[in-house]
Structures are given as structure tokens and as C-alpha cells.
């Protein structure tokens, strides 16, 4: 009797496994459970943190207007605009800043790193999400954390070959790294430049968009929603937060971040456009991402693709596409590093 029961149990397990394999493969074809969507842990602590970020951002908005940000510079817009290739001396995002220090540092349209002869010795690449935090999940089961890691690794390979900087990553495998740890790693490594790679997810829009963020206040609902999602898992305490908020006074970081973001966005969009006419440019934006606030060097968060777009999810499965994105990011970084000297073409 017992052997018969054991055999029945074995058969049942086998049937379950076969069904599981079938369902996973169905999912790969985009014919699985459509219910799969963003899954992000969102405990109360993080809601509180987000509220504080927004509050600070709104309260300090006025200060930015008069200091580091130009009055005409708009926070993130939900609308789409077309981009022309940037030309020398013309600001991509808006007009020049108004206060004296800004006038000084912007004279000659050079990054401060060049003006003061500062070198970018270490670049930190941050692959978004990881471990239990999958980020967004496409209809065919593609996870944001896997794609960002793959692109980050490729970007590292490119930068090691093409730049003279030491290149590091906040994570090199599928591990969970809280945002505060990513910031700590960047600081410990004395990184001079920080880029965080993410994928967008717009379930209600069938579009494919590219956008790049640097830290700053925003009153755009969509941007704030995105910041809320990307900030999940920061694990900062409120006391830590006060300290990091003080870093906002660092004009150099803000201005450099903006320049850096412009360079990344221009290269990503203009090169991606060569392959897909449908891609939309959502431009350079400010947003209160905790990971960007924490690091005190030029830092951007690039949403390099859009996982909610079915066609784009299929494309992301091709290494050629991921390699292309990595090469566009490389071109963006090199352009920023060499502004005024050399313009890099993204090459395969």
C-alpha cells in the first residue's frame, strides 16, 4: 500500500512540475498571467520617508529658484517633446542660471570638473533594484533588476576599455542592496561620478520613453510617483535624512548632475532614435530620488527603456539591444567627461 501511495505522490509532483514548466514558457511568450505587474515592497517606513522627501523638496523649492536652479527651468513635465541634437553654447533644458556663482561657474560652458582641473577617477554604476526587489516586471516575465544588471555590466566593460577611470558597481549579482548601502558604497569608494540605471513602466501608456533624472524638487505627479517607487528600500532613518538634506547646498553637485544628465539623455535618445522612430524623449528632469540625494558627486538616474511596452520588452531580450543601450550610456558619460574637447559617437 505504501509504495502505491509514494508512487501516486511522485506522479502528482511530476505533473505539477510539468505544468509549472509549461506555464513559465507560456509566460515567456507573453501568453501567461496578465496580472503580473510592478511588485514593490512598500512598508509604512518608506511611505513616511517619501512624505518627508516631498515636504523638504517643496519647502526648499523657493531656495532653489534663487540659487542653483534657473527660474525658467521647469520641473518634470509629463508631456513629450521632440529633441534636436544639442548645439554648442545652447542649453538643452533651459536658460542659464541667474545667481553670481552660477554665472561664474557657467562661463565658458565648461563643467566645473574641467574648470578646476578636477579628474573623474572613479565611476560608480548602480544597477537598479536586485534580490527580492525585482523592480517592474514585463508581461513576458522580464524583470527590471535583471536587465539593469546586464546593462550595468556591459557599461562597466565599455568604460574600463574607453575611459581612464576606475569603474565600480554597487551590485555585481542578483543581490539585494538597500539604497542607503548604495550611497555608502559610493562614498567609501570616493566615487567621482554616479549613474543609476532603471527601466520605466507605464502600464496605461503603450509608449516607449527615455528620461534622465538628477536630484531636485518636482511638482509633477508622475515624477513623484516614480520617485516613490524608486525610493522604496532606502532604509534611511529620519536623523540620517536631515544630514543628507544639508548636502543640497552643494551647488557643484547639482550643476554637474544636470550637465551629466543632459549628456546621458542626449546620447541615449538620439542614438536610440536611429533604431526606433516610436521612442519618445521625456527629457532631463528633477526628482527627489533618495539615491541621488545621498551621493555628493554628480549623480543621475537614467530610465533607459520602458518595460511596459511589449515591443520594447521583446527587444530587451536581445543582447544587441542591451549592448546598444550600454554603448549609448558610455557615449553619454564620455561626452560629459570630455565636454568641450571630444564628442563621442556611440559605437557598437
Amino acid at each position: 500500500m505504501i509504495p502505491i501511495l509514494a508512487r501516486k505522490n511522485d506522479l502528482r509532483i511530476r505533473q505539477n512540475i510539468l505544468r509549472g514548466v509549461y506555464e513559465e514558457n507560456l509566460l515567456m511568450l507573453g501568453r501567461g498571467h496578465p496580472a503580473l505587474s510592478r511588485h514593490r515592497p512598500f512598508p509604512l517606513k518608506k511611505i513616511l520617508l517619501y512624505a518627508v522627501v516631498c515636504l523638504f523638496a517643496i519647502l526648499m523649492h523657493g531656495q532653489y529658484e534663487g540659487t542653483s536652479f534657473s527660474p525658467s527651468e521647469t520641473p518634470a513635465n509629463i508631456g513629450t517633446y521632440r529633441l534636436s541634437p544639442p548645439t554648442a553654447g545652447v542649453s538643452w533644458e533651459g536658460t542659464a542660471n541667474t545667481f553670481e556663482f552660477s554665472d561664474f561657474v557657467n562661463s565658458g560652458n565648461l563643467p566645473l570638473s574641467h574648470m578646476f582641473g578636477l579628474k573623474i577617477r572613479t565611476i560608480m554604476i548602480d544597477a537598479g533594484h536586485g534580490g527580492a526587489d525585482s523592480g517592474s516586471i514585463g508581461k513576458m516575465g522580464t524583470k527590471e533588476k535583471d536587465i539593469t544588471l546586464d546593462i550595468a555590466k556591459r557599461l562597466k566593460t565599455h568604460l574600463v576599455k574607453t575611459s581612464r577611470s576606475h569603474v565600480l558597481m554597487t551590485r555585481e549579482d542578483d543581490s539585494s542592496v538597500p539604497l542607503h548601502k548604495r550611497v555608502a558604497l559610493t562614498q567609501e569608494a570616493k566615487a567621482d561620478l554616479f549613474i543609476s540605471i532603471h527601466l520605466n513602466y507605464l502600464p496605461r501608456k503603450p509608449t516607449n520613453i527615455i528620461e534622465t533624472y538628477y536630484f531636485g524638487p518636482s511638482n509633477d505627479e508622475k515624477t513623484l510617483r516614480l520617485a516613490k517607487q524608486e525610493n522604496a528600500g532606502s532604509e534611511y532613518g529620519l536623523s540620517d535624512f536631515k544630514e543628507v538634506m544639508e548636502k543640497l547646498g552643494k551647488t557643484m553637485k547639482l550643476q554637474e548632475s544636470k550637465e551629466f544628465a543632459k549628456s546621458i539623455q542626449a546620447n541615449l535618445f538620439l542614438n536610440s532614435r536611429k533604431h526606433s522612430e516610436d521612442i519618445q524623449n521625456y527629457g532631463v528632469k528633477r526628482a527627489p530620488f533618495v539615491v541621488l540625494l545621498g551621493v555628493d558627486v554628480p549623480a543621475v538616474l537614467a530610465e533607459v527603456s520602458c518595460l511596459s511596452n511589449d515591443e520594447e520588452e521583446r527587444e530587451l531580450s536581445s543582447e544587441t539591444h542591451r549592448e546598444n543601450i550600454a554603448s549609448y550610456l558610455t557615449a553619454g558619460i564620455l561626452d560629459y567627461l570630455n565636454k568641450g574637447a571630444i564628442t563621442y559617437e556611440a559605437k557598437k
Binding site: N16, G20, V21, T142, D173, S317, E323
Partner: protein
């Protein structure tokens, strides 16, 4: 007269493919079993094509003519690697070649299960599907360690450690299809040993001439951990003259370089599992992949895990075909209603 079901199966060929970083294998329901080294090479120019006499070469033949070829090893480090368009093309060519080796009849429909390194599934699953679909009528893609577990009937309370060239894949089986938490990949695998051995030999014999391919062959022939009662000597040219070199220490050191990560990840995987079943898992650890052929590696792991209680580590009997055989068994067991929609 044959039953209706059997007649229907006559026109079907089930194949299990293990698409590995270093070697790829196929097992098919007509009894064919073949393997090749996962290298694809295309002649660099017209003259090279004349010399090699083929438009594309595979495995050992490709390696032999590598100086005349654009050589591609598509799944290096477990993912389709740089070289990009050519590596996607290479996966396609390997699949086509393997299926040809299985000798399907002209009008036979092919149902295939392809096992790939676990890490590959994360970002390359659609690319792999795309590469294979031209040559088969229905296809499923699974992770390699899972295919091995299925083929060996290790469906419950077992830990499979697949030591490949690019990656070491860990997979816990507990009666269901393994989830992401049940699997882990590390990158200190066979290729890492090659690199270490290459560096140790350069350090010890700076005037000797050898390349990475030769070093890989030394590893495959002599690899061991702990100690063996044998002297390891190889012939290498020094200033053009063949000279015998003693490399036993270097082989041992390089093979042992993967052990710390292997032990650490094994204990981590066991510790993650439900405490009630940890003892069962510890007594059912299976080593697979080319790395399982390293002499004494199973005993080393078993001893290293002793402090966590008794455990039993065994090796699959045929590392070369364990993945392909498991994938074939999956293909054959899969109900036909599932195949119809894929």
C-alpha cells in the same frame, strides 16, 4: 495495428538539448546522443574559406582552425556574450548543428526542451527561444540544473550544483518547479580556474610559451583538489624547444580557487531552506557539469560541510549528458496538450 496515440508519436522526435558554456549536448528519442564544444567559427575571408572548406565550423574543428576563423563562444559566463550579433547567430548555428546530429527524418516534427545556464534564462530567454524556433516545431526552455534534477528523478529535497565553465548554478528541488529563490548562480567556475592556472604558470615559467586553450586542456586532463598520488608534467616550448614542466601545484591551487565560494554558497542555499527539511537536502547534494569531474571535489565538499552535520555529496554518472538526458525526459513526459500551444 498500433494504438492511435503511438501512431501519432511516430512522426514526432523529442530532443533534449543542453546548451552549455563549454559544451553542448543533444539526446533524442531516436536514441542519438551527441555533444560538441560550444564554439562556432566563420572563415575570416575568402581564402580562409578555401582553406577550411566550410562556411561554418563547430566545436573541436573550429578550435583547430581558430586562426582562420572569427571564433565565437556564445554563452560565455552563462549569458550570450559580447560579439553580440555573431553570438546570437552562433547559438542558432549550434542548435541547427545539434539537431542535424540527432538525424531527424525529413517529415518528422521536432519537440525540443532546451536547458540553458540559469543566469541565461533571466535576460536571454526570448533570444534563445528566437534562436531555436526556426529548427523545431515546439519548444520549451528550462534551466540546466533543473533539467538535470528532473532527469535524475530528484524532484524533492535535493540540491543540484552544476559546475559549468562560465557559471556554477545551484538549484534546490522541493517538489515544485524551482523559483528564483531556489536558484543561485556564481561566476567562479571552470573559466575562472583556467584564468588562475594561466596566471600561475606565467608566474612560475615566464619564458615558456603556452596559450589559454592549452591551459584549458591541462585543466581538463589533470584537475584535482586535495592531493593525488601522481606527478603532473606537461611539455611546453621554451625558445622553440620542447621542455618538460612540472605543474601539479599550480593545477591544485587553481582548482581549489573555486572552493571557498562553492562551500559558502552551498551552506547559504541549505540554510535558506525550511529547517525541517535541511537534513534531507544535506544528504542529497548532487554535483553535475564538467567541474564535477575535478578529482576529489565531492569528498572535499562533503568534508567541508561536516561541521553542519552529516551530509552526502555524489556526482552524476555522465556529466556530459545529464542535462540533455533530463531535458529529453521532460520533453517526453510533457503532456501533448501542453506542446500544442507552444
Amino acid at each position: 495495428m498500433k494504438p492511435k496515440n503511438e501512431q501519432k508519436q511516430d512522426n514526432l522526435l523529442f530532443v533534449g538539448i543542453d546548451l552549455g558554456t563549454s559544451r553542448s549536448a543533444i539526446s533524442s528519442s531516436n536514441g542519438m546522443r551527441e555533444w560538441i564544444e560550444s564554439y562556432v567559427g566563420w572563415p575570416r575571408d575568402f581564402i580562409a574559406e578555401q582553406v577550411v572548406g566550410k562556411s561554418v565550423l563547430f566545436g573541436a574543428e573550429a578550435l583547430q582552425h581558430r586562426l582562420s576563423l572569427d571564433l565565437c563562444r556564445p554563452l560565455e559566463r552563462g549569458i550570450i556574450k559580447e560579439g553580440i550579433e555573431s553570438s546570437e547567430r552562433a547559438v542558432k548555428e549550434i542548435i541547427r548543428y545539434l539537431i542535424d546530429l540527432a538525424k531527424p527524418e525529413p517529415d518528422q516534427k521536432i519537440h525540443a526542451v532546451v536547458g540553458v545556464p540559469a543566469d541565461s534564462l533571466k535576460v536571454n530567454k526570448l533570444a534563445i527561444r528566437k534562436a531555436v524556433t526556426d529548427y523545431v516545431h515546439a519548444l520549451m526552455v528550462v534551466s540546466e540544473p533543473f533539467a538535470i534534477a528532473y532527469g535524475m528523478n530528484l524532484l524533492n529535497n535535493a540540491l543540484i550544483i552544476d559546475i559549468g565553465a562560465g557559471t556554477v548554478d545551484f538549484c534546490i528541488m522541493h517538489g515544485t518547479i524551482p523559483s528564483e529563490e531556489d536558484q543561485k548562480t556564481i561566476f567562479t567556475a571552470g573559466d575562472y580556474i583556467d584564468e588562475q592556472l594561466f596566471n600561475y604558470l606565467i608566474e612560475k615559467y615566464p619564458n615558456s610559451r603556452f596559450n589559454k586553450n592549452m591551459v584549458r586542456q591541462f585543466k581538463e586532463k589533470f584537475s584535482f583538489v586535495r592531493d593525488i598520488d601522481e606527478v603532473i608534467r606537461v611539455e611546453l616550448p621554451v625558445n622553440g624547444k620542447p621542455v618538460i614542466h612540472e605543474i601539479k601545484d599550480e593545477v591544485r591551487r587553481s582548482c581549489e580557487s573555486i572552493l571557498p565560494a562553492l562551500v559558502e554558497t552551498t551552506t547559504e542555499m541549505i540554510a535558506r531552506f525550511d529547517p525541517e527539511f535541511q537534513v534531507k537536502i544535506k544528504n542529497n547534494i548532487i554535483l553535475a557539469g564538467g567541474g564535477s569531474l575535478i578529482r576529489h571535489i565531492a569528498e572535499y565538499l562533503q568534508d567541508a560541510l561536516k561541521e553542519y552535520g552529516t551530509c552526502k555529496v555524489t556526482r552524476v554518472t555522465e556529466p556530459l549528458f545529464a542535462g540533455a538526458d533530463g531535458a529529453l525526459r521532460l520533453a517526453q513526459d510533457m503532456p501533448s496538450k501542453y506542446w500544442e500551444t507552444l
